[in-house]
């Protein structure tokens, strides 16, 4: 188990490095200069793609240096911190330094620290909901397989998931919080300050994300349950005289959860990387919205930071799923 973990962490690290290198490469060799935004802001929009001023900015931001040496500087800042000079100003950026945003010249890691909890709160609440709703519905449909209940459940998930997500989100916000007061206004309060406000402020977002996300889980869980309900060991459990609920939950669901857990881990990682539509529509300043806005204006440090979060979450989720898997399936544990 230990050597397995070490191997996975090392390979995960390599993936994270490759992702961040790829982002660097895009910015260095992309068609539009990343220095343009900063240059425009400083010269009140008198900086064009051909003006000499731009070259000066590129020089200052290091885009004329070899890419790998700039990458090394960035990586060193991440571990040891560094001082960033833009124009006449020096920015002291302590470790873990992710650079300074080209848009407002604030520390990216400080912003990340502020924004990450918002996205994390969204992801945790929504994923707990969609897992619970999805698995419950899936089990229900599987047990009533072939009946009207089953068909109703499955077709309603299909109808629901074929409506574009942003439409669902937008409509529910408009009808449930703005034109009526059915739900409290969506806003973010740190969990540690006031857990109740944290929960009520995000309730609608969780529900929308959770119910929308649960549709695919209903189908996964249903398929997985239908399969495990027909297994010989479920018949054995019945033949022992166990109650129906014990057979379904302790024996059938126990094994049906294994494939669901795998998908869940990856979905959760993607939620962590930012739910762009959700954050944009509900006006939450999370990572997704931040990363999207930064991409428009070629704000390299921010894009680099958000893609780093995505890479790390996906890698970490994969490792966690593997560990979880070995707990769920003892046959994996020993080998």
């Amino acid at each position: 188990m230990f050597s397995f973990l070490v191997k996975r962490i090392v390979s995960g690290f390599v993936i994270v490095v490759l992702v961040s290198l790829a982002v660097f490469t895009l910015f260095f060799y992309g068609p539009k200069s990343p220095a343009l935004e900063l240059c425009r802001r400083d010269t009140h929009n008198r900086c064009g793609p051909t003006s000499p001023k731009l070259e000066e900015y590129e020089q200052r931001l290091g885009y004329n240096n070899p890419m790998l040496s700039e990458y090394a500087k960035w990586a060193k800042g991440l571990v040891a911190g560094r001082t960033i000079t833009i124009g006449a100003t020096d920015y002291d950026c302590s470790a873990p330094c992710l650079g300074v945003s080209y848009r407002d010249r604030t520390s990216v890691s400080a912003q990340l620290k502020e924004r990450f909890p918002i996205t994390l709160s969204l992801a945790v609440g929504a994923s707990v909901l969609y897992l619970l709703i999805g698995v419950t519905m899936g089990v229900l449909a599987a047990r009533r397989r072939g009946t009207t209940t089953d068909r109703l459940l499955v077709s309603s998930t299909l109808v629901f998931s074929s409506v574009p997500y942003y439409l669902v989100a937008l409509l529910s916000m408009l009808t449930l919080t703005i034109s009526t007061d059915i739900f409290p206004r969506v806003e973010y309060h740190p969990f540690l300050d006031n857990p109740l406000k944290w929960a009520t402020g995000l309730l609608l977002v969780w529900l929308v994300l959770g119910i929308y996300g649960s549709t695919s889980y209903t189908r996964y869980a249903r398929g997985s349950m239908v399969e495990s309900l027909s297994e010989d060991y479920v018949r054995t459990a019945r033949a022992k005289g166990l109650s129906n609920s014990a057979v379904v939950v302790k024996h059938a669901l126990r094994s049906a959860l294994v494939p669901v857990a795998t998908i869940f881990g990856l979905d959760f990682a993607f939620l962590l990387a930012g739910t762009v539509f959700t954050e944009k529509i509900f006006g939450l300043e999370g990572i997704g919205k931040w990363g999207l806005d930064a991409t428009y204006i070629k704000d390299l440090p921010v894009v680099q930071a958000t893609s780093l979060v995505l890479a790390v979450s996906v890698v970490a989720a994969n490792i966690l799923v593997d560990i979880l898997y070995s707990f769920l399936d003892p046959r994996v544990r020993l080998s």
Binding site: E231, D232, Y233, R235, T236, A237, R238, A239, K240, G241, L242, S243, N244, H251, R254, S255, L328, D329, P330, R331
Partner: protein, 368 residues
């Protein structure tokens, strides 16, 4: 081992332990009604073993699953009567069924690897079976009981192996654990559905010995489902031969194996390999395929594959379904066949083919 002695065995005061009467099981499918079991009747007494033999798809497993009420009521149509220790199973409510299952009547399934939960420890699965029917028992008692049962079925180091998962057991050990789980509540009826099919021959013999030992010890009635007549010869008191969902020959084991009266049973006997047999003796497979259960043939179900149809006058075999009635050898031996003199056909035509040495003995016996 006094603690292992059956208390529930006393439940069958009068009448047989298991009485299946006119059992019919049908499954409606998109292609039509599947007649899996039709008008099947048999009884099992305490302490006795009934062997049910037949090809795949002859209704052996379907009928015994019906005994525990394991068919989904939405997909199976069951008619007739099944009484376990006097209690009716067909149409019984879930509460009654749950009380019977694993307690009065237990089942051992054929492929123990698939029939044991892959993610649960063996001991947990055993103690769970104990706890359902002993709600007042503690987990510790149930665990002790599980270890005791594992020990009884011959699993070495049961205190250690009780925490293993099924994939850590060998095939024979898994089947032993399965048996331990079946017997943990001292059931008076044990249904073993091809318990040795997935095992190699030496282990098969061990498992059969174990089953016999335990049956003597617990004095339970056993239904042994198999397609292996060798197994039946070794352990069964009575034999029921099934074909196409119906019983076609039924009687005491020795009687059926030495004086079979139904061509299908002859066919089964002809296809059993025997190590001690004359190497010149032939294995004769039954030609053709088992009948369609969706659309069973008219008349005798076996007539399309039967080599003796021409010995029956007229079109009887093709048009009239023979009744399961006593043959020439007395009321204990039932057969479903129109052949007027099956015994002489068996001795003159079948026996010489499958066991020439036995046939000679029979000839000499008749002359002398």
């Amino acid at each position: 081992m006094t603690t292992l002695m059956s208390a529930s065995g006393a439940a069958a005061g009068d009448g047989p332990l298991l009485a299946v009467d006119n059992l019919t099981v049908r499954f409606p499918t998109a292609d039509g009604l599947v007649h899996a079991v039709t008008e099947l009747s048999y009884t099992v007494e305490l302490g006795k073993t009934l062997g049910i033999v037949g090809e795949s798809g002859s209704g052996k497993s379907v009928s015994s699953m019906a005994v525990l009420g394991l068919h989904d009521s939405r997909t199976a149509r069951i008619a007739g009567s099944i009484r376990i220790a006097g209690e009716e199973v067909v149409g019984a409510d879930q509460g009654t069924l749950r009380r019977i299952r694993g307690n009065v009547a237990a089942m051992i399934f054929q492929d123990a690897l698939a029939a044991l939960h892959p993610f649960k420890r063996i001991g947990k699965q055993l103690s769970e079976a104990y706890l359902v029917h002993h709600p007042q028992a503690t987990k510790r008692e149930a665990r002790r009981r599980a270890i005791q049962m594992l020990d009884r079925v011959g699993i070495p180091q049961p205190e250690r192996r009780v925490d293993d998962f099924s994939h850590q057991f060998s095939g024979g050990m898994r089947q032993r654990a399965m048996i331990a789980m079946g017997l943990i509540n001292d059931p008076s009826l044990l249904i073993a559905d091809e318990p040795t099919t997935a095992l190699d021959v030496t282990v098969q013999a061990q498992i059969l010995d174990l089953l016999q030992d335990l049956q003597r010890e617990f004095n339970s009635g056993v239904v042994l489902i198999t397609h292996d007549l060798g197994v039946v010869a070794e352990v069964a008191d009575d034999v029921l031969v099934m074909y196409g969902g119906r019983g076609v020959e039924y009687g005491p084991c020795r009687e059926i194996l030495t004086h079979p009266e139904m061509p299908y049973t002859w066919g089964l006997l002809s296809s059993v390999p025997d190590v001690h047999a004359d190497p010149n003796a032939r294995l004769i497979p039954i030609t053709g395929n088992p009948p369609s259960l969706l659309d069973p043939p008219a008349g005798c179900l076996f007539h399309p594959r039967c080599a003796h149809v021409h010995k029956v006058s007229g079109d009887l075999c093709r048009t009239v379904l023979p009744e399961l009635v006593p043959g020439p050898r007395g009321s204990g031996h039932l057969k479903r066949c129109h052949l007027p003199d099956p015994e002489s056909i068996y001795e003159s035509e079948v026996l010489p083919e499958i066991a020439p040495d036995l046939a000679e003995v029979a000839d000499v016996g008749r002359e002398g």
